[in-house]
């Protein structure tokens, strides 16, 4: 047969909890009350953490900051699918995952206030924020590969945006993962924009999930504002990874409700109407409706929760703001042992500082 079809491929879409809080009974994950409350609490905490950060930034008390408003389901749903021993590799918008993974709020604020010292006590298996887009994909594949080579049944999970799929490192990482069947879960937070560039202009492929097929493994698209879908699919992918089934890419279809960062003005490139459409799909609202329907949640609990979280955040901000990094930390962590030229440079700086003080 001289002309014939030799490859046939497809991509699925998954949603479980719709914007009105209705659940698909066949797909509904079996989660107890406590777990659901934890999901909800962490999503609300993430949103309030975020909101506080934006306020601080406006007051000049923080660096440029990228809000995760609207993406809380993707972050929290995937994070709670992980085990503590799984490696987590964030981009820069994964506040929700970091919070769910137990990184103290105070450290997150210290980082975004401008000090690497936030990471002095970073809990293990949580990697540092990656600013250069998509570079962390390779690290996650390497860490997963290491686990596999060391016969550990742990996985690694890496986060990146729709824009990140255009970078060479994304490609090289996906390909290594396919070839070496590394236990890696690729979470693409497709929030529809890379700064001002809309998803359709980022790539001509119909979905981002289908990119996985180019590397010989499965890609799936889920409703990223549906915490149950994100959780279920991540859980399955991690389980598959840990048991030798290789990598999976999960495209979480969500929306960046806020600006790209505090330096960005999204009105330049998108319509208010579009944002309003997505507001109806809010991930927290729909989880709350689901919990209310289940009788797990009510206004009283909501009020208590908000009060509790407000207190936590105030305390974290206070602690973070009082932190002053020692100058020598600039030199101390470049190498395990400080080489001669850095000693000289540190002395030069410290000499200069004391001289100025003396003047």
């Amino acid at each position: 047969m001289p002309r014939q079809k030799i490859v046939d491929m497809s991509v699925d879409w998954l949603s479980i909890l719709d914007p009105e809080g209705n659940v698909d009974k066949n797909l509904e994950p079996d989660l107890d009350k406590g777990t659901l409350e934890k999901f909800y609490r962490t999503m609300v905490l993430t949103r309030m953490f975020d909101d506080k950060a934006l306020k601080l930034q406006r007051q000049g008390r923080m660096l440029t900051y990228g809000s995760s408003l609207g993406q809380e389901a993707t972050a929290v749903g995937s994070a709670f699918a992980m085990k503590p021993d799984d490696w987590f590799f964030p981009a820069f918008r994964e506040h929700g995952v970091q919070i769910a993974r137990g990184i103290p709020l105070k450290l997150l604020y210290i980082y975004w206030m401008g000090s690497e010292d936030a990471n002095l006590t970073l809990p293990q298996k949580n990697f540092t924020v990656a600013i250069p887009v998509s570079t962390q994909v390779l690290h996650a594949v390497g860490a997963a590969w290491a686990a596999k080579l060391q016969k550990q049944s742990t996985a690694s999970i890496v986060y990146f945006g729709d824009g990140a799929t255009s970078e060479g490192d994304f490609h090289e990482g996906m390909n290594f993962a396919g070839v070496f069947k590394t236990p890696t879960v690729f979470i693409c937070q497709n929030n529809q924009y890379a700064i001002s560039l809309p998803r359709e202009k980022q790539t001509a492929s119909k979905t981002l999930a289908q990119k996985a097929l180019a590397y010989g493994f499965e890609g799936i698209q889920v409703d990223g504002n549906d915490v149950l879908a994100v959780y279920s699919e991540t859980l399955a992918a991690l389980e598959k990874a840990r048991s030798g089934g290789g990598p999976t890419m999960i495209e979480c279809v969500t929306y960046r409700m806020g600006a790209h960062t505090t330096s960005d003005d999204p009105t330049k490139y998108r319509k208010a109407a579009e944002v309003e459409e997505w507001r109806k799909k809010d991930p927290i609202k729909r989880l709350r409706m689901y919990l209310e329907k289940k009788g797990i949640w009510d206004q009283g609990r909501e009020d208590t929760l908000i009060k509790e979280i407000t207190g936590e955040i105030e305390k974290a901000v206070e602690e973070a703001e009082s932190y002053k990094p020692p100058i020598e930390n600039m030199f101390k962590y470049v190498y395990a042992e400080m080489p001669q030229h850095l000693k000289e440079q540190m002395d030069e700086l410290q000499g200069f500082i004391s001289k100025k003080k003396g003047e």
Binding site: I195, S196, L197, F352
Partner: protein
């Protein structure tokens, strides 16, 4: 020629407007340069005037931007490609070192590559990691590439026009600390500043002070603190090819020099400048040349960044030390 008071962003924007108007082969490309007008608003208004075929929002891929721009440049266009921050320019080094800089050489003139890469540059704006770096060494060390960095709105316009018209690839770095730091009179019309020429900003007898980009301002401030000394301030403007003539002439006269840069000290351009002074004016030297530079560490996040960047006090101190040697 009429003049307008412009800051550096406006001056660069004006240069882009004018060159695009004058030469239909000039185009602008990069991440968020179109509809958004660039994250620093440097390309604002261009897309409305020239359309999305000449002001192109690209996917998020730095090697892709430079590599496709090379293909365009080779086939008759003059792309001005933006890399959003200097800290992501590392991803372009392969295409620049292996290709852009060698196309004329490798093809023995059959092809050439009139490409400009623009990127914001350097520290002092309280930014995230990789957004405060001074990365000139990587590009200066690539034969066949030119490297330019202006220190004022006037120079920015004139140097960018020259870069666009240059038949060879140019990396044009824009000191982001100066983007909106001050305005000065900039001619409305077109003018060029020849690449490869430094400029004496002041005449002096006692000491030669050498800088570029945002450090020129720091040096000017420092000079206010050492008014008793007669300092000859040189703004290099082009880092590659290096105008060692202006440096050597000055050092032969003053016998003393201080070099100021944000780049990490080891193999920052200061090293090469000292090497050239050593080769061409050693006997005139009355004191060791001193470098006031970034340290050999990653640029710290903002809470410690001020300790990293050379400031007027450190520079003034160095001037006094060298003058007193």
């Amino acid at each position: 020629m009429s003049l307008a008071k412009l800051n550096m962003v406006q001056a660069i924007n004006l240069a882009l407007h004018q060159e695009m108007e004058k030469d239909p082969t000039v185009l602008v490309m990069g991440e968020d340069v179109g509809v958004d007008g660039g994250v620093f608003r440097v390309t604002e208004g261009l897309i409305n005037k020239f359309g999305s075929d000449r002001v192109i929002d690209t996917p998020l891929a730095e090697s892709g931007i430079v590599g496709t721009a090379i293909g365009m440049a080779v086939s008759g266009l003059k792309p001005v490609a933006e890399i959003q921050f200097e800290g992501f320019s590392y991803m372009t080094i392969d295409q620049l070192a292996a290709h852009a800089s060698r196309i004329r050489y490798r093809s023995r003139g059959t092809y050439h590559c009139p490409l400009v890469i623009r990127a914001p540059y350097g520290g002092g704006v309280r930014a995230l990691e990789h957004h405060s770096e001074a990365v000139s060494t990587f590009y200066i060390h690539i034969p066949g590439l030119k490297v330019v960095i202006p220190s004022s709105p006037y120079d920015a316009k004139g140097l960018l026009i020259s870069s666009i018209r240059d038949p060879d690839p140019v990396f044009f770095f824009e000191p982001k600390k100066l983007y909106r730091a001050f305005k000065e009179e900039v001619p409305e019309g077109e003018y060029t500043i020849p690449l490869g020429t430094g400029k004496k900003l002041t005449e002096g007898e006692d000491l030669t002070l050498i800088a570029w980009g945002a450090m020129v301002r720091v040096c000017q401030e420092a000079m206010e603190q050492v008014k008793d000394l007669s300092v000859e301030l040189i703004d290099l403007r082009t880092l590659s090819p290096l105008d060692d003539g202006v440096i050597i002439d000055s050092v032969k006269k003053t016998g003393r020099a201080v070099i100021v840069h944000e780049e990490p000290r080891t193999l920052g351009l200061g090293a090469e400048i000292i090497a050239r002074i050593n080769e061409k004016a050693l006997l005139s030297l009355e004191a060791p040349v001193k470098r006031v530079t970034g340290f050999d560490i990653p640029v710290p996040l903002p809470k410690l960044e001020d300790y990293y960047l050379p400031d007027a006090a450190r520079v003034a101190d160095a001037i006094k030390e060298v003058a007193a040697f």
